[in-house]
């Protein structure tokens, strides 16, 4: 779409196409506006008020996540009033829960921590006021820590509107409100299928992956974009790795609207990657001698294969050799084997287990 409107943020003019929110335009131009309840994939919720901005000609502060940008708007994101309000929001969250960053899995990419940093809150201004709720580690893959939950509702929206598992909801009332699974069952006993979408959208450390615990803080992880191999949907996975080991998987958020999976994953793509690092992976060529496998060098193994295939071809013809390629390996692997069968051996006996 064409850039048909101009808005001014903190004195600078930005062009944009219509239909965007003030927050969209600010984020696209690297203007810092914090959000807690808003996430691009769960949409606007208008709850947390962290994204308030001031607009010339409007009364009071407005939520930038829910406000459509109009041509000529003059916006401020960093007035004293806004800073005060943001600070108050963070202070209230910090007093209502146990927001202890020291060993938190989210340390370094927690959105509440970020906000506190930007507001310059070194020590919470209010006393802590909350009851401690025990950790829910009943599920295989996900740990829930209600004491870190800020009730932003992203997980509830994602569970009910993105992945459609319809497990999470808000339960109980007023001060006792919390996110529950089914009728407030421990997650491991609920109908949750452990797709992990809730963890992916959680802005704080209330929802984390069990398998990632203690494997390395966020800033030590490297992100690599891969394609999941567990079915034909072809979900794009950002693998977080450290020291040549898989730590956890996230659906790719970058360009999520264009990705086949729109940022989502299932339980297999989310948790099924530890096979990569299993001790029983094959690490060296093996040749069977007297009924037992013996470790071999690549030279030994490949020379043997090449001479055996050569002998078989000479004795029985190219058509006596068959090749099974794989619907699990890449196009390049399949192309190479097809080229080898047809071009080097000279047989069309090449197929894969698509039927099985």
């Amino acid at each position: 779409m064409e850039n048909t409107l101009k808005i001014t943020i903190n004195g600078k003019v930005y062009d944009s196409s219509p239909g965007k929110t003030v927050l969209d335009i600010a984020r696209a131009n690297n203007v810092y506006i914090p959000t807690l309840c808003y996430h691009p994939r769960t949409g606007k919720a208008g709850k947390c008020r962290a994204c308030l901005v001031e607009i010339e000609g409007f009364r009071g502060l407005k939520e930038s996540c829910a406000l459509e940008a109009k041509d000529g708007m003059i916006i401020k994101t960093d007035t004293e009033q806004i800073k005060q309000v943001r600070k108050m929001i963070v202070e209230l969250h910090l007093s209502n829960g146990e927001h202890n960053c020291i060993a938190c899995e989210k340390n370094g990419h927690c959105e509440l921590q970020d906000m506190a940093y930007h507001c310059g809150i070194e020590r919470p201004g209010f006393p802590e006021y909350h009851e401690t709720i025990p950790l829910d580690d009943s599920a295989e893959g996900i740990i829930r820590d209600h004491n870190k939950c800020i009730e932003c509702g992203r997980c509830v929206t994602a569970c009910n509107n993105n992945v459609m598992h319809e497990v999470l909801d808000f339960g109980w009332r007023s001060g006792h409100t919390k996110v529950i699974c089914d009728n407030d069952l421990p997650m491991g006993e609920s109908s949750c299928v452990q797709c992990g979408e809730c963890v992916q959208v959680c802005p704080v450390g209330a929802l984390t992956f069990k398998n990632a615990k203690g494997k390395g803080p966020y800033w030590e992880l490297e992100k690599k974009k891969t394609i999941c191999t567990y079915c034909g949907v072809g979900c794009s996975i950002d693998m977080y790795v450290k020291d040549n080991k898989w730590v956890y998987s996230m659906g790719t958020e970058e360009n999520w609207e264009k990705q086949t999976n729109k940022g989502m994953l299932c339980v297999k793509g989310r948790f099924g990657m530890d096979f990569l690092d299993r001790e029983d992976r094959l690490t060296t060529p093996l040749i069977k001698k007297n009924g037992k496998f013996v470790e071999a060098s690549w030279d030994e193994a490949l020379n043997l294969v090449s001479s055996k295939l050569g002998e078989t071809k000479a004795k029985y013809g190219a058509g006596s050799i068959g090749f099974f390629t794989s619907a699990r390996t890449s196009n390049e692997d399949n192309y190479a084997m097809m080229r080898f069968a047809r071009g080097v051996i000279g047989t069309n006996n090449v197929d894969h287990c698509a039927r099985l």
């Binding site: 295989e140 459609m164 567990y230 034909g232 299932c266 096979f275 196009n331 099985l356």
Partner: protein, 533 residues
């Protein structure tokens, strides 16, 4: 797929048959659910089990395993008889109407009720709902294809979509959901006995010449006959097939008749297995070559909607394992061929120059544009989300007459229960990866046979107890899951578990054309294992 995964919300109605989508393609299953529950798209589910999607369906038709083509043709019988079909589309874009309509005569609602167990009224309701709701998309998976009449089932699906004009528009189409991440790619790459890349037949001399020239080999040395399929190669092991080279497959676990597969492989003079684990098949090999897993190499994969995507190397290989293609390149050199490209990108480059439908794709474009859907003939072509727009690739769409055939094996006095097999949400295929995952194996550590409460009561089987399931080919011991989710007289076993391998039981009878085994139907008996002590 003729269409794309993002189109669920563009359909007016979705028809799901032979796919337990939320378990086997979970992220897409969620998209279907969202279209239905949040956007008002209608849904018809045809499946013998109460699968998750059936809960939000407008209609759920529970057919007997193996009666899919009867159900599909039965719906068409009603649609044609009631004049609910798209006459303009049939006239303009299809051929074969007369023979097709003649073959529909057999599939009266009464007959289909008898064959499938679905009531006549429900068939009529479903036909009306599907035909009169607007744009309809049909999704299917292995529940349609893994039959001795799998090809008939697929043709029946495409007949249904053709008479309703459900082609070439957003939210329509015949959409098979591929079970493995690169089935589409393996086929596109010519890993099939009859075609080169992009489905260029090996029997056409011009094609052989094109590839021979590009590969620097003599065209006389190329095989001009169609080769053997996996299943026939296994059957001919020891006879016409003396050596087999297997890359990344575990046919010893996935073959429909495991005893048979093992016997056959043992007849070979030479077996090479290239894999990431010591699989059941690797154990009987003469040479085992260690390969990199997907995250340890860069390469492209093609998803079920024909989208070619790049997957990047995230980890280093264990030990001295090598890339699959790298091993083949090394081997080719030893066998006197030094024209092989040696990197993923150069292999892809060579391939796309030989493949019209891939010609416009480059690694750079694939990265930047989040993948491209073929055909993509030129570098400025945006790719093709929807096939058959305005015209079928073969010209006119062929309506195919279908003669009903029962499954190869039907229930009998000795084997009175239908067995159908499939996957679970938490596991994948032969389990060589998911059973090694802490979380996934923790969620579902062992196999269970789903059995209806009524059958369980008759057999005095309690939920969770171990039972013996036998077919004419073998028997397994497995825990029972007593449930109402499956109909009486049918049981379901997932095939991920080596200690209770469903494929010990399944029938290796093949579809005569596709050579696909009939995994989805066979006859079994279930016995209580006598309590010890």
């Amino acid at each position: 797929m003729t269409n794309s995964l993002q189109e669920t919300e563009k359909s007016d109605i979705i028809f799901v048959i032979g796919t337990n989508t939320t378990w086997n393609h979970p992220v897409f299953g969620g998209m279907v659910k969202k279209a239905v529950k949040r956007k008002g798209v209608k849904l018809i589910v045809v499946d013998p089990r109460d699968i998750d999607l059936a809960k939000c369906a407008n209609l759920h038709l529970k057919q007997r395993p193996g009666s899919d083509s009867a159900v599909l043709m039965g719906l068409q019988h009603i649609i044609v008889k009631e004049n609910w079909y798209n006459k303009a589309f049939v006239d303009e874009r299809t051929e074969g109407w007369d023979d097709y309509v003649k073959s529909l005569e057999f599939y009266t609602p009464e007959k289909v009720e008898e064959l499938s167990g679905i009531s006549k009224q429900l068939l009529i309701d479903a036909a009306k709902l599907y035909a009169t709701s607007g744009r309809g998309a049909l999704y299917y998976a292995m529940g349609i294809t893994q039959h001795t009449h799998g090809v008939d089932n697929v043709k029946a699906c495409s007949n249904l979509q053709m008479i309703l004009g459900n082609f070439g528009l957003e939210g329509t189409g015949v959409n098979p959901l591929r079970g493995q991440n690169n089935v589409q790619g393996a086929c596109d790459m010519g890993a099939l006995p009859n075609v080169f890349t992009g489905y260029q037949p090996v029997t056409v001399e011009e094609n052989r010449k094109k590839f021979a020239d590009a590969w620097g080999v003599k065209v006389e040395n190329m095989d001009d006959k169609v080769g053997q399929t996996v299943t026939t190669m296994v059957n001919n092991a020891g006879d016409s097939i003396k050596a087999i080279y297997i890359m990344g497959e575990n046919p010893m676990m996935s073959d429909p008749n495991l005893h048979h597969a093992e016997e056959q492989f043992k007849k070979l003079d030479f077996l090479v297995v290239q894999d990431i684990f010591m699989t059941e098949t690797a154990q009987i090999a003469d040479v085992v070559l260690p390969a990199c897993a997907f995250a340890e190499k860069t390469g492209t994969f093609v998803n079920t909607e024909r989208r070619v995507q790049i997957s990047n190397k995230a980890l280093n290989q264990p030990g001295i394992a090598k890339n699959d293609f790298g091993i083949i390149v090394e081997l080719a050199k030893r066998m006197g061929c030094d024209t092989f490209p040696e990197t993923p990108e150069t292999l892809f480059e060579e391939m796309r120059q030989l493949t019209p439908s891939y010609k416009g794709m480059t690694y750079e474009r694939l990265e930047k544009e989040c993948g491209l859907r073929w055909p993509c003939p030129t570098e400025d072509h945006p790719g093709t989300p929807i096939l058959h727009v305005g015209k079928f690739s073969r010209g006119k769409g062929l309506l195919v007459p279908i003669e009903y055939r029962a499954p190869e094996e039907v229930i009998s006095k000795e084997y009175p229960i239908w067995l159908t097999t499939g996957r679970l949400l938490q596991h994948y295929h032969t389990g060589s990866m998911t059973r090694r995952s802490k979380v996934l194996n923790g969620l579902v550590p062992y196999a269970k046979v789903e059995i209806n409460v009524v059958d369980a009561k008759k057999l005095k089987i309690k939920d969770g107890e171990k039972v013996k399931v036998s077919s004419r080919r073998g028997s397994i011991e497995i825990h029972a899951e007593v449930t109402k989710k499956i109909q009486e007289g049918i049981v379901f076993i997932p095939f991920h578990f080596v200690e209770a391998a469903a494929n010990q039981l399944t029938n290796d009878a093949l579809d005569p054309i596709a050579k696909i085994p009939e995994y989805k139907v066979c006859a079994v008996k279930i016995e209580k294992i006598a309590d010890c002590c």
